[in-house]
């Protein structure tokens, strides 16, 4: 093991660095969106890029999400690699037509002749006290659309690695950025940020024997906290960070659940029709004979995202996760 100089960095900085490095390495990478230039994006992820690479490669577009993604399609058709920023989760919806009708299926409808290497960066999720339309968890819409990769980092290092991988991908990637983790700091070596993981690999963030928490994005730190708190109850929880929803890493997830025999899926978006249902079904299909209890889900309520003063009652927190763990017929195991 080599020791590297690590310093604290935020997820927003790591994302910015990934964009910068990708642009430096590949002249076809273009960044575009609302306020990404002079302002550096409302979350400052693109800070400094316009200065370094010029307006032709870092473009403040007119305010039109369908236009942003639609023109990105044309740019990708002509050999560029657009990385587009949607300012907030709910403001990506005007671009759904382009995403679903064109971006996701261009490779398929052209029999492989016209792949679209577009990365769509979408800040998502709640917990930041945002007003209406600033806190949606829209991943269920994206994962229901064949042809898209859907990834979401939970750590600073993954933010860098996954974004590099997304930009390098020859397929469109919806890159979901958990906005409440933008300012979370990790120690990370910005001078040697070479860890570019291929898209589609989950990672075990914490090893345990009693049950597996399967989660991603903004819920990863919550699950880690829950796992620590669970020790007091004598439960030793494993935490799997999916990192990628599409493709889904059945191998890592199944292996974990087979070891522990119990699983809870945790995410912020609504449970009904949410990603947890798909995940629970897959786990059940693959691990049925290993399961000591049904796979449970801890999700946001099935309501439009609430106003900020009430969001703490909506978001899955440590207590709700521990309650679910307790409901895994615990006594059954010695």
């Amino acid at each position: 093991m080599t020791t590297v100089a690590v310093k604290p960095a935020t997820m927003a900085q790591a994302l910015g660095r990934a964009l910068r490095d990708a642009m430096a390495d590949d002249p076809t990478v273009h960044v575009m969106g609302e306020d990404v230039g002079t302002l550096g994006g409302v979350f400052r992820v693109t800070d400094g890029l316009a200065k370094e690479f010029g307006e032709d490669r870092v473009t403040d577009t007119p305010l039109a999400e369908a236009g942003i993604l639609g023109t990105a399609v044309g740019m990708a058709m002509y050999g560029l690699r657009p990385v587009v920023e949607m300012q907030f989760d709910a403001f990506a919806y005007p671009a759904f037509e382009q995403l679903i009708s064109h971006v996701a299926r261009m490779r398929n409808r052209t029999r492989g002749a016209m792949p679209l290497p577009i990365t769509v960066r979408v800040p998502y999720g709640g917990g930041i006290g945002g007003v209406e339309h600033h806190s949606d968890s829209s991943e269920a819409y994206y994962i229901a659309t064949p042809g898209l990769h859907v990834v979401t980092p939970a750590t600073v290092a993954d933010a860098y690695g996954l974004l590099r991988a997304a930009i390098a991908s020859d397929d469109p990637v919806v890159f979901l950025e958990p906005k409440r983790l933008y300012w979370s700091k990790d120690t990370w070596n910005p001078d040697e940020p070479q860890a570019v993981d291929p898209i589609g690999r989950a990672v075990v963030r914490r090893h345990g024997r009693s049950a597996t928490l399967i989660t991603y994005g903004p819920s990863v730190p919550v699950c880690m906290e829950a796992a620590e708190a669970a020790r007091a109850e004598g439960w030793d929880l494993e935490v799997v960070d999916l990192r990628s929803l599409v493709p889904f890493d059945d191998e890592t997830v199944s292996a974990s659940v087979r070891r522990t025999g119990r699983a809870v899926v945790v995410h912020e978006s609504g449970g009904f029709g949410g990603p947890g249902g798909e995940i629970a079904a897959r786990v059940t299909e693959r691990c049925f004979h290993y399961l000591e209890a049904p796979v449970l889900r801890v999700a946001g309520f099935d309501i439009p995202y609430p106003p900020p003063m009430l969001e703490r009652h909506h978001l899955p927190g440590v207590d709700r996760i521990l309650d679910a763990v307790a409901r895994l017929q615990w006594e059954a195991q010695s």
Binding site: G37, Y93, P94, P307, R312
Partner: protein
């Protein structure tokens, strides 16, 4: 044989049956924004109207200052100030009859308040206790709309429905310069013109969409020009001249009410403060630009007109300021009380009849809250309202 070789099959111009529907000339906006204050036209304006506009501008400015202060005290999550744009906000509210509808965007709290909405109710979205703190039917104000330009088709639909029903109702929809780039803006204009819906679109061109200046938003000679392609008149007005905005909007509303169809009005104004308290405008504009606009302040313009003509004196100004101060004091006091929130409200209005899933989730939350309350029993203070 190519199409060109088929004699008569290809025409460089359409057959004579095709007629352009309108002469674009009357639809085109003037080259310069329409002004009233400081011109002869001002003399024709009812002095009472000028005084009313003045009182509302002063109130509006004070309201913006108070709301901005409330963000600093953590009482509002965010506030997009309309300081500098008060003339547009106030005129939009005052040109409408009670039966008409206003479709505001997230920056237009002031228009809603000037229309008569309780200032506290107008701020729930930005305070974060509920999305829309009022019944839209009561004042005929649609919910303050956050996704840009998406309220415009609603305004068209409502105006159309009212006309189908035989009601004499006009809808006035507000949008920013940035919002005019959205597809919804274009679709709304097209529907409005094709249906000849009684709707007026007011674009408050305040120079920026967050950090992006108008020049990066459009290459059109003006935003008002965009109307012509859809077949409706475009009007350009000085958005800091309250009398001019009122005049142009009144004419557009009257035109719509009389069955003349929609109008697009572009008011040229300036956003004097940052996009919201969360924005750093130093990154994209210089002080000198802001200062230049300060000399064209909507309140100063009207005050000058009124005092020159002896329609307003020191006492009148003081009265306007005192009225505004009283409104601000009341707003401050009521906003400094914690709103009484019931977490069970989360489930109250998702459907007319809650789904079985929601009933289960409601029971879950109630159990959690009961457990929390038991936990706090005996010495521990209850947590009170969520903040």
């Amino acid at each position: 044989m190519t199409v060109m070789e088929q004699r008569g099959a290809y025409r460089p111009t359409p057959p004579p049956a095709w007629q352009p529907r309108t002469d674009p000339a009357p639809l085109l906006p003037d080259a310069l924004p329409h002004r009233v204050l400081g011109t002869e036209a001002a003399e024709r304006v009812d002095p009472e109207l000028l005084r009313r506009l003045y009182a509302q501008l002063v109130r509006g400015r004070r309201y913006n200052a108070q709301a901005t202060a409330l963000t600093k005290q953590g009482r509002l999550a965010v506030y997009p100030s309309s300081t500098g744009q008060e003339a547009c906000e106030v005129a939009a509210a005052l040109v409408l009859e009670e039966r008409d509808w206003l479709f505001p965007s997230y920056r237009d709290t002031l228009a809603a308040v000037a229309r008569g909405l309780d200032p506290v109710q107008a701020l729930t979205l930005l305070r974060g206790d509920w999305h829309t703190g009022y019944d839209p039917h009561e004042h005929r104000i649609a919910p303050l709309c956050t996704p840009l330009a998406t309220q415009l088709p609603h305004a068209v639909g409502l105006a159309h429905a009212a006309r189908l029903k035989g009601d004499d109702v006009v809808a006035l929809a507000l949008v920013g310069d940035g919002g005019t780039s959205e597809g919804d803006f274009h679709e709304a204009l097209n529907f409005a013109a094709v249906w000849q819906a009684p709707v007026v679109f007011l674009v408050q061109n305040n120079g920026f969409a967050i950090s992006v200046p108008l020049a990066k938003q459009t290459a059109a000679p003006s935003l008002a020009h965009k109307a012509v392609g859809y077949g409706m008149p475009g009007r350009l007005v000085d958005g800091n001249d309250a009398a001019a905005v009122h005049e142009v909007l009144s004419a557009a509303v009257a035109h719509a009410r009389a069955g003349g169809g929609p109008t697009l009005v572009e008011a040229v104004t300036y956003r004097m403060e940052a996009h919201t308290n969360a924005d750093d405008d130093k990154r994209y504009r210089g002080d000198s630009e802001v200062e230049a606009w300060r000399a064209h302040d909507p309140i100063a313009l009207l005050e000058h007109e009124l005092t020159e003509r002896g329609l307003l004196d020191e006492a009148g100004m003081r009265a306007a300021r005192e009225d505004a101060e009283a409104m601000a004091a009341d707003l401050r006091e009521r906003m400094n009380q914690d709103p009484a929130l019931d977490p069970m409200d989360l489930f109250a209005h998702v459907y007319a009849q809650p789904t079985t899933q929601l009933l289960e989730q409601e029971a879950q939350l109630r159990a959690e809250l009961d457990a929390e309350a038991r936990h706090h029993e005996g010495g521990h203070e209850s947590e009170g309202t969520a903040r």
